[in-house]
């Protein structure tokens, strides 16, 4: 079920009412929320529910099994088994096709027929996200940071519909206590929730869909047929498309959870105002950054074993982060670019500190130069991320140096306004929006409903008919 649909609006109105009615009766509430979340997931394909249930079962059984072992080494071994079992479905659905095809073509070259059947497996929506949450849960149990929860709690934790299909990746220690305890039905921050939900709808339905349809898809679909200015603006446009698309989902998820009395961690913090790639990753898909840092980068040794090892750890983390998005060289290039960029930044920072200068840019001009440079590096990465092959990515980049001065019909004032507008809001102070939210919170519920209806009406009217799936559903 997609968030920006009438189906979801009806679903949520019903779930909201029943959620608060059942809130004091925790066991009944857990069964209700589990059922509602499974219905939400089954809207795509009911068979997916079995997979979600299987992952929940492995996570619960694994955590209990790990917790029973007092010896550290044996517990770590059990943890490795549980994590491997959780990763198996993800690896099967995500990488089998790529692996079997590559093997078949390699063997073809030496005249041997393919040993593996070529299966096209449809990646179950959200599998990466709930698998990562399940991994964080069993690892946290193994690290003795949390104790195993009852199976129903684990099932609700993994299936809770606001985060189910595209995050944020919420950790057990954050969500499980909220699942256990009755939510406070008298302290709903409607103003914040509305800001997140309706802001998310605007970003997805109006900005992202418009830029993708009018500029980005045509240019990346046939870069050879577009002039340099169109290609350049399309690259900037894609930076906005992927941000507005993904952050919209996160915002709506956080807003919806907030209406149900749940707190989710933030997932985006104005990423295009970052002054370095490291800063970018503190602001972009923050819960994935945190996951990779805590469950991959730090276990690899983090930054504690010397410069060479740190650089290696950074590269491994970023390359695996790239490959998580899909089995393809474009994602390897994207991850590699971010990894190399961060290694270079570390080197540069050390040199600045050695010369007695601040590690971060300090003067306004330094900050703006750093922001622009970071944004363009990120955009370069997006070219590889968006292109369907390395060839297309290089063709897009190659077009940047040809065809200047020719008419660029896709670069319309509205397209430029959307791009510049979305970039500008990332660099503006938050005070005006805070004031708006406070003002909204002070009016009664009927007036709030009327105001929100008008905003929703405007979003619906401005947006095109139909909603495309969110980009991050495919990951």
């Amino acid at each position: 079920m997609l968030f920006p649909t009438i189906d979801f609006a009806i679903f949520f109105a019903v779930v909201f009412a029943l959620h608060w009615l059942l809130n004091p009766h925790r066991r009944a509430w857990k069964w209700f929320m589990l059922t509602a979340s499974y219905v939400f997931y089954a809207w795509w394909d009911w068979r997916l529910v079995w997979l979600l249930a299987l992952v929940s079962l492995i996570a619960h059984a694994g955590a209990v099994w790990i917790e029973r072992e007092a010896d550290d080494r044996r517990r770590h071994r059990r943890t490795a088994v549980a994590v491997a079992a959780l990763l198996l479905p993800l690896a099967w659905f995500k990488y089998y096709g790529f692996f079997a095809l590559s093997l078949a073509n390699a063997l073809d070259a030496i005249g041997v027929s393919a040993p593996l059947p070529l299966l096209q497996l449809v990646l179950p929506v959200g599998i990466s996200f709930y698998t990562f949450m399940a991994i964080s849960y069993v690892v946290d149990v193994s690290r003795l940071e949390i104790t195993p929860a009852p199976w129903l709690d684990v099932a609700v934790y993994l299936a809770f519909f606001p985060h189910l299909v595209a995050g944020p990746i919420v950790r057990g220690e954050e969500l499980l206590p909220q699942v256990r305890r009755e939510r406070d039905g008298g302290a709903i921050d409607v103003s914040r929730a509305a800001w997140l939900i309706f802001g998310g709808l605007f970003k997805k339905v109006v900005v992202s869909t418009f830029l993708a349809a009018e500029l980005v898809d045509p240019v990346f679909g046939a870069p050879g047929a577009h002039v340099a200015l169109e290609v350049l603006v399309a690259i900037y446009g894609y930076a906005i498309v992927i941000y507005t698309d993904f952050s919209a989902y996160s915002d709506i998820a956080i807003g919806v959870a907030s209406l149900l009395g749940f707190e989710f961690p933030a997932n985006f913090d104005r990423p295009y105002s970052a002054t370095s790639l490291r800063d970018f990753w503190r602001r972009w898909h923050m819960t994935l950054s945190r996951f990779l840092r805590d469950y991959l980068y730090i276990p690899l040794g983090g930054s504690r074993r010397g410069d060479a090892r740190t650089a290696t750890n950074v590269m491994v983390t970023m390359l695996l982060g790239g490959l998580w998005h899909g089995a393809g060289w474009t994602f390897v290039a994207w991850g590699g670019l971010h990894g190399l960029g961060q290694v270079a930044e570390r080197h540069r920072t050390r040199r600045r500190v050695a010369r007695g200068r601040s590690p971060e840019p300090t003067t306004p001009s330094e900050v703006w130069i750093a922001r622009l440079a970071t944004f363009h590096l990120v955009c370069l990465g997006w070219v590889f991320f968006r292109a369907d092959s390395l060839g297309t990515a290089f063709e897009v980049l190659g077009r940047l140096v040809t065809g200047w001065g020719e008419p660029a019909p896709l670069v319309t004032p509205l397209v430029l306004l959307a791009i510049v507008g979305m970039l500008a809001v990332q660099n503006l102070p938050r005070t005006p929006t805070e004031r708006l939210r406070v003002g909204f919170a002070r009016v009664g519920p009927v007036l709030q409903g009327v105001a929100l209806a008008l905003v929703l009406f405007a979003i619906t009217t401005l947006g095109p008919q139909g909603v495309t799936p969110f980009i991050y559903f495919q990951f």
Binding site: I6, F12, A13, F16, A17, W20, G97, L101, L118, Q120, V122, G186, A187, I188, D189, S191, R192, A193, P218, G221, A222, G224, A225, G261, E263, R278, M286, L288, S289, R290, R293, D294, Y297, S303, N313, T317, M318, G321, R346, R350, D388, S389, T392, P409, A441, R442, G444, P445, V446, Q448, G449, V450, L452, A453, F457, A458, T460, T461, L462, Q465
Partner: protein, 384 residues
């Protein structure tokens, strides 16, 4: 992936502390108040948009969902009209430069085009020499076609596509449903932008069955009048497994003889809009799909497209069904291209293509245009 120069432990501590800071609970509401706000919001929004939602529902596939939506929306639209709140939606639509009365599928958006004076596709000579001549099953450079005889060279110069001149490039369009939306960019990429202007005009969720949603016949007329295309690639029909709604709202049920007759007539009228002005048309059939339950319908409409194209001297048919079947028949997402390389050509939904698959389909369709209509080889970047 925020990798910091500070020690990891410090960073974790800082982050954890940051997360434990709960936002100040100010100006909060009760669940009851929030529920009132949600209901008012959804109710008023539905009222404001009721006429437009009703129009959308009317163009949905005939079935339970449509029936329920109509049962809810008809009285709501009546209330909206009585209270005149629907006027707000109409005013906004007009302010945005849209026509609130047009079909829910919208209209064909054509870029502003300056056509050279007194140019355009040459009118066709009547009567094709042979029906089979315009039916292509396999790409010319791939495996030889197994079901149709090899195409002959065009006998009439009139079916040849003109050679583009400076300032008067070839005009090409790709039209149809979501399959054509993928084919469009792939075709565009293969034409030389100096010698050909390609418009990718596919529209999602459209077809020939529901002209009440989007009228492709009228759109083709508009395209011919304003763009005067030399060549049009058509790929349509994957959404047409549903009742056809007549101008009076009556439904012709899918599966009936009347449906087939009406559909054949619509396909012929659609094609005539293009070729009567001299445009050459390459009609790409629906490819084999993963879901076998759809095979019977798609094969039937592919038969209609083939017959329709073969009856017109300025049209050629590409049998995408067999083109995308593996050697033993059936369906596979993985197929060999012209060079024998195994590639994933089909998208996970089992209907659409990967970019690689669209590329292969585009090369095939262009080669058919080269063979049947003598498409000037210099206009494309592949060997035809």
């Amino acid at each position: 992936m925020a990798i910091d120069t500070r020690t990891d432990e410090l960073e974790i501590a800082a982050l954890a502390a940051e997360e434990r800071v709960t936002p100040p609970r100010r100006n909060t509401s009760s669940a009851g108040s929030a529920f009132v706000a949600i209901l008012v919001c959804l109710g008023l929004w539905a009222l404001l948009l009721a006429p437009s939602l009703l129009r959308d529902a009317e163009t949905g596939p005939v079935g339970t969902r449509r029936a329920v939506a109509l049962a809810v929306l008809r009285p709501l639209a009546a209330v909206a009209e009585r209270l005149s709140v629907d006027l707000a939606a109409v005013a906004v639509e007009r302010a945005l430069g849209r026509n609130p009365d047009e079909r829910p599928g919208g209209r064909l958006e054509l870029p502003s085009i300056e056509l050279p004076r007194a140019t355009g596709p040459e009118p066709a000579e009547p009567s094709p020499p042979s029906g089979d001549r315009r039916s292509e099953d396999r790409p010319p450079e791939g495996t030889p076609a197994t079901e149709s005889p090899a195409p002959e060279e065009p006998e009439s110069p009139d079916v040849s596509i003109r050679v583009p001149e400076p300032g008067n490039e070839l005009r090409v369009a790709v039209v149809g449903d979501s399959l054509s939306q993928g084919l469009g960019p792939a075709v565009t990429e293969l034409f030389d932008p100096e010698l050909a202007r390609v418009l990718s005009l596919g529209r999602q969720s459209t077809g020939l069955a529901r002209l009440d949603y989007f009228n492709w016949r009228a759109a083709m007329r508009q395209l011919v009048e304003r763009f005067r295309p030399d060549l049009v690639f058509v790929m349509i029909g994957s959404n047409d497994d549903q009742a056809q709604i007549g101008p009076d709202g009556s439904a012709v049920e899918v599966g009936s003889t009347a449906w087939v007759q009406a559909y054949r007539s619509r396909a012929a009228q659609f094609l005539r809009e293009a070729t009567s002005a001299g445009t050459r048309v390459v009609w790409v059939g629906i490819p084999v799909v993963e879901e076998r339950a759809r095979w019977s319908f798609y094969r039937r409409v592919n038969g209609i497209y083939r017959e329709t194209a073969e009856a017109d001297p300025l049209a050629a048919y590409v049998d995408a069904w067999t083109l995308f079947q593996p050697k033993g028949g059936g369906y596979s997402a993985f197929l060999r291209n012209e060079r024998g390389v195994l590639q994933q050509m089909r998208a996970p939904d089992g209907v659409h293509f990967t970019p690689t698959g669209y590329g292969y389909l585009a090369r095939t369709a262009i080669r058919v245009a080269g063979k049947v209509f003598a498409l000037p080889p210099q206009t494309v970047t592949i060997r035809i």
